[in-house]
Symmetry: C2
Subunit: 301 residues, 2 copies
């Protein structure tokens, strides 16, 4: 019972990993098909392919990470904005039935955080907040002891009282600021997702190229971005006092360009001298695989 399979379903690609204990044995990446049926077929085919030489009883289970909200029980994908074909799909149940293997599901940022906490940048830390910077700003909380979880020897995703903890993207950081898609004003996500760069009329990738060449406009823009990021991270530190924050997501490729101004803002806005001094801010280590690794880790071995 040493093998676990992790799947990270994104709007454009699906990542697969096969873990043996805490080692990545195999990985695979495919383009996300356009319909529910095709997605299910592709997942099942690729799982069979990854595990062709593993006995079924050796496979502990399958974990799936998926964007956006699940229902309270965590077994139904609700309405992922970028993956509408999976709306109201009991995906884990379908895979579990078809492949006769226990299958669990959680949102992708929780999986990202669990992956980084157990096998990535947060390996040595007990209490990690994961942040993904991309089309939105996502958050996850993983601790050695879940606030409401019963088991306690391993790192757990903290889900809150109603399964909706760590919705960091919709913290207000400027109450009369920009209107957010959620209907609120001045959400963290408005200032630290791709929308920040869109408003400035530039694509993150292009900007990163410019910054690599020490272009002043690009460096200034990343400084500004970093300040907003620091404000949001300071709120998280003031409230949660985590040991470590791990930063991933598409925008984090430019980490070296924005992290300095983010850290300066954290120094300004965190009230406790102790957490100001000791909290670690790290870049994610597992790259593209954090989500699928974390999904596999949903299955406890």
């Amino acid at each position: 019972m040493n093998y676990r399979i992790g799947i990270d379903i994104g709007a454009t690609k699906i990542n697969f990993v096969l873990l043996r204990k805490q080692r990545i044995l195999k990985k695979k990446k495919i383009l996300t098909p356009g319909t529910k049926e095709e997605i299910i077929e592709a997942i099942e085919e690729n799982i069979r392919c990854l595990t062709w030489n593993v006995k079924q009883k050796e496979v502990e289970g399958i974990g799936i990470g998926i964007p956006g909200p699940l229902n309270e029980k965590g077994d139904l994908v609700l309405n992922p904005p970028n993956l509408k074909c999976l709306s109201n799909c009991p995906l884990a149940k379908i895979i579990e039935k078809d492949l006769k293997t226990r299958t669990l599901m959680d949102n992708d940022v929780n999986c990202f955080t669990l992956g980084e906490a157990v096998m990535g940048a947060g390996k040595e830390a007990k209490f990690i907040v994961g942040i993904t910077l991309g089309s939105g700003v996502g958050g996850g909380i993983v601790a050695k002891l879940g606030l409401v979880d019963e088991t306690r020897s391993r790192k757990h995703i903290y889900r809150g009282a109603f399964g909706s903890a760590a919705e960091v993207g919709h913290m207000t950081i400027k109450f009369d600021g920009l209107k957010c898609s959620c209907g609120g004003y001045g959400c963290f996500e408005e200032y630290c997702s791709e929308r920040f760069f869109k408003r400035k009329g530039i694509l993150p990738l292009k900007l990163e190229e410019k910054a690599e060449k020490s272009n002043k406009f690009a460096l200034n823009l990343y400084n500004e971005y970093g300040r907003y990021l620091g404000i949001g991270l300071a709120n998280i530190i003031n409230l949660l006092d985590p040991e470590m924050i791990v930063i991933g997501g598409g925008i984090s490729v430019a980490y070296p360009f924005f992290i300095k101004s983010a850290k300066a803002e954290i120094k300004k806005r965190v009230i406790s001298p102790l957490s100001k001094q000791y909290v670690k801010i790290k870049r994610a280590k597992l790259g593209d695989l954090a989500g699928s690794v974390g999904a596999a880790l949903l299955v406890k071995s």
Copy 2:
């Protein structure tokens, strides 16, 4: 071993309670003396007086709640702005030595939250955030299972990785807003402590009298105050997803006047439909005694 003593030291008064299991047997309130020596003497005298007919071996311990930051180990008062005479005082150790009774110490908002969580408004809830609205805005987090605590059968104060969790007052809610005493800008505390009313040129108590008489100016001001409060509470809910928020502190006497607009703002700014629907916002129940009751509960029976 059924008795516990709780002491809540404030800038102007000190509250004492004697608990037997979870019942308040006796309570007492005195004015806070002006020097460290007088404070220690008054505390010890009043403890002796509260417990004159209790055998010493029946007293499980003494708990002290005190404003402002303690050191990492929690045994040294650092520099309470309103109680400067206790700066760098190992108060608990002194009392413990003098009275030969185990003595514990924590900050007053943690004690408030523990008191309300165990014996007050949060009695039935498993995961409570406590908020005090007064000269500052304080916060505490109490859960049935502490994130990093080893024991798990009771409600615990969650302290974070470096002992500084729940510093809600210094969350940024408007990054380019009013300058706060902490050096940051747009802190929650600037908008929801007594400073809000001072800026408007009115004392909270006077305003409450006016609101009682349905004075429009007063009601409007409380509406505005409530909106700011709702913004801060929404941030806490988005991040932590607590089961209940309990609101206390001096300004909470006007709770009925500001809670409606606060709840409306929460509905606007909390992203999860589930926590929006289920999170409970309650007024503190133990009044003046929450802090001293919580202090007594620091001592585990």
